[in-house]
């Protein structure tokens, strides 16, 4: 099994079909069924809306590669989004809002990493616990109310452009490139592959697996802080339940993108395609006037299907 994982690592192209075929298929189906799908404004809309998801799915890929999981991302996103809104409202400074959100995200990520790596609690339970904590804190800091009346600069983050390209897409692409560089072109990235695939080797190389794991989760927290800024900018307000459940879309994107839950091999480009696939699925169902509840159920089925295929692959 491990040998096979190595082979897959060296030739990720082998896996392009799965997620790419699914994406193309969805696009074809939706273009045939609704006239509004294959238009430049709609596609651009899908991509802009997918950026928040991408910012969660990128670190989620790394976390899943370490045979971990972060169920708290949606709840922490809600909290960081509220922090951006509250700090921006109080100080009028977008930068202070972002810094506060990054700090809160990193604190939560570090707690997750510490619980998983040092205390040894299984990741899905540790992050379920911090999910509850973040959800509770969101209700407490907002008193259950929306935070409105943002300075104009906040809205600009989502609606602004840089050289004609929407700012969210610039941020999303920047994040992707940063993660790509980190995972494939640094020693840190190599260690992450080893964390999932071969922890023994790390030990012999004198690398602290614990510190590495904490770093991976903390990086996730930082990205959730950044995504919180986009979230607040998108809604032009902070809302105490806004991001809840978004971790599921992120896990879906990673699973559809071909990252394995059991063998520690991840594929970042697959995650990118997975994010777009989830975005296209939701957008298409939306255009077909199906309620968001059906979208949620479809994403659930997508995950189960992707994991089933992953299970088949690991057995063959």
């Amino acid at each position: 099994m491990r040998e096979q994982a190595m082979v897959l690592n060296t030739n990720p192209l082998q896996r392009i079909p799965g997620v790419a075929v699914m994406l193309v298929l969805l696009c074809v189906v939706f273009s045939l069924m609704t006239p509004g799908f294959l238009t430049v404004p709609n596609i651009s809309n899908v991509l802009v809306q997918s950026t928040i998801l991408l910012m969660l799915a990128l670190p989620m890929t790394l976390i899943i590669m370490t045979e971990g999981l972060d169920l708290s991302m949606g709840a922490v996103l809600t909290l960081t989004s509220l922090i951006v809104a509250i700090v921006a409202l109080a100080t009028g400074s977008l930068l202070l809002g972002l810094l506060a959100a990054l700090a809160v995200g990193i604190v939560f990520g570090t707690i997750n990493g510490w619980l998983v790596a040092v205390v040894g609690i299984p990741p899905f339970v540790a992050t379920l616990g911090t999910l509850g904590m973040a959800q509770g804190l969101s209700l407490i800091v907002s008193d259950g109310q929306s935070v409105v009346g943002m300075p104009a600069a906040v809205r600009g983050v989502y609606s602004g452009t840089l050289g004609g390209v929407p700012l969210p897409i610039v941020l999303g692409l920047g994040s992707y490139l940063a993660f790509h560089g980190l995972l494939y072109h640094t020693r840190f990235g190599t260690y992450i592959f080893a964390l999932g695939g071969n922890r023994e080797a790390l030990k012999f190389a004198g690398i602290s697996a614990r510190r590495l794991l904490i770093l991976v989760y903390a990086l996730g927290g930082a990205m959730v802080g950044l995504a919180g800024l986009l979230m607040t900018a998108r809604m032009n307000s902070g809302h105490p339940t806004a991001g809840l459940g978004l971790e599921f879309d992120a896990i879906a994107a990673v699973a559809v993108g071909g990252t394995s839950f059991e063998r520690g091999n991840g594929w970042l480009l697959g995650t990118l395609l997975g994010v777009v696939t989830v975005g296209v699925l939701r957008n298409g169902l939306n255009l077909l006037a199906l309620p968001s509840s059906i979208q949620v159920a479809s994403v659930g089925l997508l995950v189960i299907a992707a994991l089933f295929v992953d299970g088949l692959r690991s057995r063959s």
Binding site: P122, G132, Q135, F248, P291, A297, L307, G311
Partner: protein, 324 residues
């Protein structure tokens, strides 16, 4: 997770050790009661204590089935969403047919069917249980919201409502159901071959398979029971609230997991008791009830539950490590 040094008949052999674990937890529950009696005027009243018992029994129904799943080393994250869909469909059946019996059977049936699907995903499709049931959570969530379309169901027959809010000889009906299921669950887990096989699977799945236990069939049973218990809980919830919305019971997943873990069932499988889960449900209910009586804002409840989950696992790992 597959620690070979663990005895494979964990349930019966470690019963005395388990008893000590449960005793500590009963002591903790007692101390919380004593503290709340001193700190508040309203805790030590018959009305409030019956209220705590009823709440604890609701939590116990969901958590008892979950206990079996956790004993096998798995997890069922779909139980809250399962309560929601079972309650909504059972509610519709009662409204359409006017028959509470049919409603009860529907609720338990829907819950059990969902649980069986979980079991199929875990055994036949070999998807890790936490992620399979997590996917199921969102599938159920979507279906329930679509099915209800933002509507609320009200007004169920008075006889049906007795299940959740009625009294018999001064005690709430759910408390009697609690005693029945506590007895069934304990006897099943400790005194039947199937129950012992569940412990064996959790303690060491490889050894369990090699010793001829039909692992897949037992797992299927355990997930189905967990779903059916969520279905039963949905009925009692429905009868208690006398109304159903798409989000009924959804927030119960974390408290149910907390009850199991506080009760001393190990996340790694093979260790724990159904009675422990009852004590866990009681402790969590006492803490939340106490916060309520001390006028702590309800917003703090998920935060406290989250902290308790993590503390419970941490404590479990610490004590088990010392014992090993």
């Amino acid at each position: 997770m597959t620690d070979i040094s663990k005895p494979i008949t964990g349930g019966r052999m470690l019963l005395s050790d388990e008893m000590i674990q449960v005793f500590y937890r009963l002591l903790a529950a007692f101390l919380i009661c004593a503290a709340l009696t001193i700190l508040t005027n309203s805790f030590f009243s018959l009305g409030n204590i019956l209220n705590v018992l009823r709440q604890a029994s609701l939590l116990f129904f969901i958590a008892s089935g979950l206990t079996l799943v956790v004993l096998t080393g798995g997890l069922d994250l779909s139980i809250g969403a399962n309560v929601a869909i079972s309650a909504c469909i059972a509610g519709t059946v009662i409204h359409q047919t006017g028959s509470p019996t049919l409603g009860v059977l529907t609720g338990i049936g829907v819950g059990g069917a969902v649980g069986m699907l979980n079991g199929v995903m875990v055994t036949a499709l070999r998807i890790p249980s936490f992620i399979a049931t997590y996917g199921m959570l969102w599938v159920l969530h979507g279906i329930t919201y679509w099915y209800m379309g933002g509507e609320t169901m009200h007004g169920f027959p008075a006889g049906f409502r007795q299940i959740g809010s009625g009294y018999f000889l001064g005690l709430p009906i759910p408390v009697y159901l609690l005693l029945v299921f506590l007895a069934i669950g304990t006897i099943f887990a400790q005194r039947t071959t199937w129950g012992q096989e569940i412990y064996a699977i959790g303690a060491n799945p490889v050894a369990a398979r090699l010793s001829g236990i039909p692992v897949a069939r037992r797992l299927l049973l355990v997930y189905t029971v967990s779903g059916a218990m969520a279905g039963l809980a949905s009925i009692i919830f429905l009868a208690r609230l006398n109304s159903a919305e798409a989000d009924i019971g959804e927030s119960l997943t974390l408290p149910a997991i907390a009850a199991v873990l506080i009760g001393g069932t190990s996340l790694f499988g093979g260790l724990g008791t159904v009675f422990g889960t009852f004590v866990g449900a009681l402790i969590l209910t006492l803490v939340l009830n106490g916060m309520n009586l001390l006028s702590v804002n309800a917003s703090w409840q998920p935060l406290v539950t989250g902290v308790i989950v993590i503390l419970a696992v941490w404590l479990d790992m610490k004590t088990r490590r010392r014992a090993a």
